[in-house]
């Protein structure tokens, strides 16, 4: 029999190996899943992981990689601060929506002016929208000790209904022949968040996401704020003894997560999505939770995990048309990734030993 033995200190080697191990296990289990669906597993894995980058349609799918990865990375970076401090905001999807509504709403107030100030103003308001939405669980937690997991999650559904109301009412395009949805930002030159270099998919949101990776890396490893977050995550009492205010930390971590999610929302709105519509959000806020943990809450890890997750989105869509696998099988596949990561995580703190008969 196998036996788990606690390590004296967590293994640093395992911290970096386990995500790769999780990817390999996901490929194996995913292959099995596709085989059971009657598809060729090797082909399915190739379509998901290889074709988006190097296949025949790569000219189209490669730029999509950055487009899909950027919001995931940006949101996951924001979430990672709170997750490190055991503050679990799982409502980034709602904060993402509110970023788009705030940023988009402010922008539309200036339509059709062509001023270079409108786009930056929209971006700022997007971040603000996300922050304000995240302040609801933050203040409820600090004032009334509510559970931020539940409150932030519930607020996602509130935000989705607000989004629908905005698409049908206040922000609906007056020239849109009654169809739901706002004006299209892609058709408004000074606001359209277009590709900066043709064929890369890189819009301002992508640049912001990569800049945020560097910024977060510096804050988490070199700055006291990152240190205080780490201490709080490990031991709330030690953090309090060190002089960290737990309430301030809740506000700061939720604020950062909300701000980053709001930014992702407004970049998506002015770029790839184009308009506020009922189906504007596609679950980036939830997938980002997987990305944050897959990346070990480390900025560089999150960047890699975001790219990987984007790959499975694009590869998953390819597999849907080329092999006809159901859309749900791709979600199962992404879920497996988090499942295996959490499962192999135990190797960080434990060693596997062959069990020898215990002498009493």
């Amino acid at each position: 029999m196998l036996r788990l033995e606690r390590r004296i200190e967590p293994s640093r080697k395992m911290v970096s190996i386990t995500p790769l191990l999780a990817v390999v296990l996901t490929m194996l289990a995913g292959g099995l899943l596709f085989a059971l669906l009657g598809k060729n597993p090797v082909e399915a894995i190739r379509i998901i992981f290889w074709d988006p980058l190097f296949g025949q349609t790569a000219f189209y799918t490669r730029p999509q990689l950055l487009v899909k990865a950027a919001p995931l990375i940006l949101i996951a970076l924001g979430l990672s601060f709170g997750f490190r401090a055991n503050i679990f905001n799982i409502g980034a999807e709602g904060q993402y929506i509110m970023g788009a509504i705030f940023g988009g709403g402010v922008g539309l107030a200036f339509y059709p002016s062509e001023s270079i100030f409108i786009f930056p103003l929209m971006i700022l308001c997007g971040a603000l929208g996300g922050i304000l939405w995240a302040m609801i669980p933050a203040i409820l937690k600090t004032r009334f000790n509510t559970n931020e997991i539940l409150v932030s999650l519930m607020l996602v559904y509130v935000a989705e209904n607000l989004l629908a109301a905005m698409s049908l009412g206040l922000l609906r395009n007056p020239e849109g022949r009654g169809f739901p949805g706002s004006r299209n930002f892609q058709e408004w030159d000074s606001v359209f968040n277009a590709e900066i270099w043709t064929g890369t998919g890189a819009h301002y949101g992508v640049l912001t996401a990569f800049a945020a990776v560097v910024l977060c890396y510096v804050v988490l490893t070199r700055h006291l704020f990152g240190f205080h977050i780490q201490v709080s995550g490990q031991s709330a009492r030690a953090a309090k003894f060190a002089g960290v205010s737990p309430n301030w930390l809740v506000v700061a971590c939720l604020g950062i997560a909300g701000g980053f999610a709001g930014l992702a929302g407004v970049f998506e709105l002015t770029g790839p999505a184009g308009q506020i519509s009922i189906d504007f959000n596609v679950g980036y806020g939830f997938t980002a939770i997987i990305v944050a943990f897959l990346g070990r809450l480390h900025p560089v890890g999150i960047m890699l995990a975001g790219l990987l997750m984007a790959l499975t989105y694009i590869g998953g869509e390819l597999a849907q048309f080329q092999l006809g696998v159901p859309a749900a099988s791709i979600q199962v596949f992404q879920g497996m990734l988090l499942f295996f990561l959490l499962a192999v995580d135990i190797l960080v703190n434990f060693k596997i030993r062959l069990k020898t008969r215990e002498t009493a």
Binding site: E9, R222, F227, Q230
Partner: protein
């Protein structure tokens, strides 16, 4: 009276501490037997062995004349030993009956169980409604749930760990009636407490533990609380080391410090006043749970109090947090090393930063100077002889004594004006303990002040110039440690003011 449980030569060694050293005694059938001792005397280890949570290294137990060596609590319960812990294990969102069913191996049908709970609770005067949610019950009622859970097993021996610490006086009376009824039916009770008056009224016999050894047995009814206290703390006191204590200017002035406890198991601090002068080591004695942790939190700044209640060299600092207090020179080393004084999974370097940040100037505009931090950690390791493979290793990889040297050293190297230490040598080996005590007296010799909170009277006698006792959140007036007797300490623990012979 025939013996129900007899213990002979029970010994348990933990790394660095001999928790139980050849403990032997007997508990008779239908006897209420008290187990007395200070914190750390080995009471919990002993009951854990009886309840099957810990296996003894040596010695044997007999229950009802048969060999008894439970390897897990389930087997202890099967042999008729039940225990009510000080801290309850109940689910607030479930009902009384559901909670009790969870702890049973073959719970009966819900209706039958409810009836049995009602019967047992009525028989023993423990009013309890099986359908109520635990979350709606008071602390006393929750304890009844735990007791009824034990009684449903028809135990031969019931172990109770400090049952009255959470009860109101009225609830204590009800509990005592229940225990007397159980006793009259032939159930034996092992009663752990340090409330001496209770033991006098309730218990037939008492065994007194000190430093893991049985130091005496008595019949509580024939003893006075004072004589039992003397047995608990030991009859010999070391004379304080001859030190030239010349009190200088007042460094820390605490006046009328009160702090209501937020924790139902906690103790509120009531109107505490004392001063600490240059060169002074004030030792605060008392049995654990009498406000030591709360006093520590109030002084470190983790709990804020009235602005003027704490004044350091003329600066009122009662209202500010730990960082601001460190800045002006009030440093602290809490009792719990892992998880309070240090973060277990963080390296020694990171733990050095934890409190050293401000006074060692380890950051520049919020950016951490890792090189200087590492040097500071290395300096602590060097100066206090901390045995570690390197400062990049996690705090939890160090032994208790080495980590304690690191924690105390970290504060001392920051040149405090006043240092507060709770349990400086708790669970620390003798060599490390000696070096920590020396560091404390050295600091005082340099004209700083130290407040030592400890339950080890020998330790307090060794380091203190002045002495006070904390009892139920109140502190006695500090007096000279010179010439103090055990008898006087016993009186102080009971709340009587003892005038300073030297003053």
């Amino acid at each position: 009276m025939t013996a129900l449980l007899s213990l002979s030569g029970l010994t348990k060694q933990y790394p660095g501490v001999l928790a139980n050293d050849h403990v032997s005694f007997e508990i008779g059938k239908g006897e209420v037997h008290a187990l007395l001792g200070e914190n750390g005397a080995g009471k919990s280890t002993l009951v854990k062995m009886i309840y099957g949570l810990v296996r003894p290294d040596e010695g044997e137990m007999k229950l009802g004349g048969e060999d008894y060596a439970p390897t897990e609590p389930r087997l202890a319960r099967r042999s008729g030993v039940a225990m009510v812990f000080q801290h309850f294990s109940l689910f607030e969102a479930l009902t009384v009956a559901e909670n009790i069913a969870l702890g049973m191996e073959n719970p009966p049908e819900k209706k039958e169980l409810s009836e049995r709970i009602s019967t047992v609770s009525a028989n023993y005067g423990l009013t309890l409604d099986p359908d109520r949610l635990i979350g709606d019950l008071s602390v006393g009622e929750r304890q009844r749930v735990e007791i009824v859970r034990c009684l449903l097993q028809d135990p031969r021996l019931l172990i109770m760990d400090e049952p009255t610490s959470v009860l109101t006086p009225q609830e204590v009376e009800v509990l005592f009636e229940t225990l007397n009824k159980l006793k009259s039916e032939g159930t034996s009770i092992l009663y752990i407490s340090h409330k001496l008056e209770e033991i006098k009224t309730l218990c037939d016999h008492a065994t007194i533990l000190r430093h893991g050894k049985v130091v005496g047995t008595c019949t509580p009814a024939e003893e006075s609380a004072k004589s039992m206290a003397e047995m608990m703390v030991g009859s010999e006191l070391k004379e304080p080391k001859a030190r030239d204590f010349q009190p200088g200017a007042v460094l820390l002035d605490v006046q009328g410090l009160s702090l209501p406890s937020k924790d139902p198991f906690g103790t509120s601090l009531r109107n505490i006043s004392f001063t600490l002068r240059e060169g002074e080591v004030l030792g605060i004695a008392g049995v654990a749970g009498n406000g030591q942790d709360e006093l520590m939190l109030a002084l470190s700044g983790e709990e804020r109090v009235q602005r003027e209640a704490i004044v350091l060299k003329g600066n009122p600092i009662g209202h500010v947090g730990p960082s601001a207090r460190r800045k002006v020179g009030l440093l602290a080393a809490p009792e719990e090393r892992l998880g309070h004084a240090a973060a277990p999974d963080m390296s020694l370097t990171e733990n050095a930063l934890l409190t050293g940040l401000l006074r060692q100037q380890l950051a520049n505009k919020g950016f951490i100077k890792w090189k200087e931090t590492e040097d500071f950690a290395k300096a602590i390791v060097e100066a206090f002889d901390v045995r570690t493979a390197g400062v990049d290793h996690a705090a939890k990889s160090l032994s208790g004594g080495n980590l304690q040297k690191f924690v105390v050293g970290r504060e001392i190297l920051q040149r405090p004006l006043v240092l507060v230490i709770n349990q400086p040598t708790w669970g620390v080996d003798a060599a490390a303990a000696a070096s920590i005590r020396e560091a404390i007296t050295d600091l005082a010799a340099k004209g700083k002040a130290v407040l030592v909170i400890s339950q080890d009277l020998d330790e307090l006698m060794e380091v203190s110039d002045t002495f006070a006792v904390l009892a139920e959140g109140r502190m006695s007036k500090p007096r000279s440690a010179k010439g103090i007797t055990i008898e006087q300490i016993g009186l102080m623990m009971g709340g009587t003011e003892v005038p300073d012979a030297a003053a």
